[in-house]
């Protein structure tokens, strides 16, 4: 496939890397080191245990694993780490970024196209980074007659709300940012903010395309919120709790999708509508109303909206996994941490490095995360799939389906769940549990 850049030579690439390293070393030794010494000359260094804490000593202490591993371990269990890195924003943003790239390649393969190809040597793998850099370097244009405060705050609120939604999703046992007793209700409260943000930023842009798109988004999200909530009631009835972690624990032996398949189908369709994806992408129908309520956003404001959209996609897929597919439950496939490293340390030739405090993550958590990611990735692929297959449906058909069919279907599974509960088959104190 590599007819794109025939002048590329691996040897030249490696040579250029060495070139860069040479210049960095040269500039550091000629400019950086003198600056460091000049600064050190004026700083009064502290005395610890009778020793002068020079930068060399500080780095030696930091490199000592018996000091650094406990620091890292305690940092992992802080709230900041949970919010910013693992079950929170960083993890979700990583999955969202992977989703964007996989979506483009996946749809291209489905439609017998190539997809991103030029950027990065292997199958255009750096395309996403290029897009991000482009969005960041673009100018943010505010329409002259726009309502500036709302227009500015719209994308931020969108990402913030999506992040709040992400924080409610439990990834592994005990690994969730916020674990309220009314977790499912918190999800409903959070997704209620999306239509407000959409319609407000659409109104603030003062353009007919955005306004039509915003009103469509409002119609669609409001009408599909009701079947969404109703389809989840059967899960609440069967598991007897609103806490998302406890719902996952209640699926230790079987997944709820076995007993509530109709709810799962309704919920799946409603999340496609809530995410404004094809075949329900009326709010941003690009062949009718330019880009819908996103028309006037440019540069990084558009980037933020896209980030929020994909965070929302991850959160909805994670919610589907948590509620219907058993969350982190799965057979233990993750290998245990080798005991030798904990007791004897790592021996390389004459050097033995001991790491007291390892392992950083326990086996259960890693296994749970693995299963959660596998299931969520499957659900995300299923959500992406209709985009390559279906055309967009009309708004009256959409609303008709939303108000008549999905609400009715959602009720069907509530009655099935109630029947199973009162027959004493499932639920708290049932035959199977």
């Amino acid at each position: 496939m590599s007819t794109i850049a025939p002048e590329f030579r691996l040897s030249r690439f490696i040579a250029s890397l060495f070139d860069i390293i040479f210049w960095i070393l040269l500039i550091f030794s000629l400019v950086g080191l003198p600056i460091v010494f000049i600064i050190l000359f004026y700083i009064k260094l502290p005395l610890i245990n009778g020793q002068l804490l020079t930068p060399y000593l500080a780095m030696t202490w930091l490199a000592d694993p018996s000091r650094s591993v406990p620091i890292i371990k305690s940092f992992i269990h802080t709230t900041f780490f949970k919010v910013a890195v693992f079950p929170g924003f960083g993890f979700a943003a990583l999955l969202a970024a992977a989703t964007i790239f996989i979506e483009r390649k996946f749809l291209a393969k489905m439609q017998l196209r190539v997809g991103p190809l030029y950027c990065g040597k292997i199958e255009g793998i750096l395309q996403l980074m290029g897009d991000g850099l482009k969005l960041m370097s673009k100018e943010i244009i505010i329409p002259a007659k726009a309502d500036k405060p709302i227009f500015w705050i719209g994308p931020l609120l969108f990402v913030g709300t999506a992040g709040a939604f992400v924080s409610l999703i439990p990834v592994a046992p005990g690994w969730v940012v916020a674990n309220p007793n009314v977790g499912l209700l918190a999800v409903f409260a959070t997704i209620g903010f999306f239509p407000i943000i959409a319609v407000l930023s659409a109104w603030a842009a003062n353009s007919k395309w955005t306004f039509i798109g915003g009103l469509r988004a409002l119609h669609q999200m409001i009408s599909f919120e009701i079947p969404l909530i109703l389809s989840l009631l059967s899960i609440v009835i069967l598991s007897g709790t609103l806490n998302l972690s406890q719902i996952v624990e209640s699926q230790k032996h079987y997944w709820w999708i076995v007993f509530t398949p109709i709810s799962a189908i309704v919920f799946f369709i409603t999340i496609i509508a809530e995410l404004e994806r094809i075949p329900f992408d009326l709010p941003e129908a690009e062949s009718e109303i330019v880009a819908g309520w996103l028309t006037e956003f440019s540069g990084m404001m558009y980037g933020l909206i896209q980030l929020g959209t994909y965070l929302k996609l991850y959160a909805f897929a994670g919610l589907f996994t948590v509620l219907f597919l058993g969350g982190w439950n799965g057979p233990m496939v993750w290998p245990p941490f080798p005991e030798d490293i904990v007791t004897h340390g790592i021996t390389i030739g004459p050097v033995t490095a001991k790491f007291p405090g390892l392992p950083l993550f326990d086996q259960e958590m890693l296994n749970g995360t693995l299963w959660f990611v596998i299931k969520t990735a499957g659900v995300i692929l299923l959500i992406l799939l209709p985009r390559g297959v279906f055309p967009r449906i009309r708004i009256d058909m959409l609303l008709h389906n939303g108000w008549y069919k999905w609400i009715g279907l959602a009720f069907v599974n509530i009655f099935i769940a109630l029947g199973l509960l009162y027959a004493g088959v499932l639920g708290p104190g049932g035959l199977i549990h």
């Binding site: 309220p180 209700l185 239509p195 319609v199 409002l218 919120e225």
Partner: protein, 170 residues
């Protein structure tokens, strides 16, 4: 800690409530109303009632405020924005508010509400649900019937039989 949160929530709620009344722009007024309603949800959270707080958010902010926004955006501005400017009305309103607040305040302070224990455990929503389904079940059934009949009534009123649509809807 709770006191500072309570104070800031109060300032936010009352301030945005006043803003919702006073701001000229209808959109900003409805945004201020949303902030007020969210602030009330914050009060419920402080009172150890997350269940009510989440419903406050999803019903009032998620539905009612959206309905108000929707109405504001779709109705022409001149029709609903009659300018009746009279400072005496405002002073009368402030005076009335002060009188009502004084009256309610004296009643509450005189009622011995201060001696109520505040360390009592919060009521579990599961207990409320159980009570609803056992002791208060007649009231629940009556409420359900009223709601169902109002939904059916709304559907019947919204149904337009004079319009025959040529478009296929399914």
């Amino acid at each position: 800690m709770v006191d500072s949160i309570f104070l800031s929530l109060s300032v936010l709620t009352i301030g945005s409530a006043i803003a919702a009344l006073e701001i000229r722009s209808l959109i900003y007024g409805s945004i201020a109303l949303m902030i007020t309603l969210s602030g009330i949800a914050g009060f419920f959270l402080l009172l150890d009632a997350p269940f009510v707080a989440m419903f406050q958010l999803s019903v009032y902010v998620g539905s009612i405020a959206v309905l108000i926004l929707f109405t504001v955006m779709l109705v022409r501005r001149e029709l609903i924005f009659n300018k009746i400017e009279d400072p005496r009305r405002r002073y009368a309103g402030i005076g009335l508010m002060l009188i009502i607040m004084l009256g309610i305040g004296t009643i509450i302070i005189g009622s011995g509400l201060k001696s109520v224990e505040t360390d009592a455990p919060s009521v579990d929503y599961k207990k409320i649900g159980e009570d609803f389904l056992t002791y208060y079940s007649p009231a629940l059934i009556v409420m359900a019937l009223i709601l169902t009949s109002s939904v059916i009534g709304a559907l019947a009123l919204a149904r337009r039989e004079d319009v025959t649509s040529d478009q296929r809807t399914d």
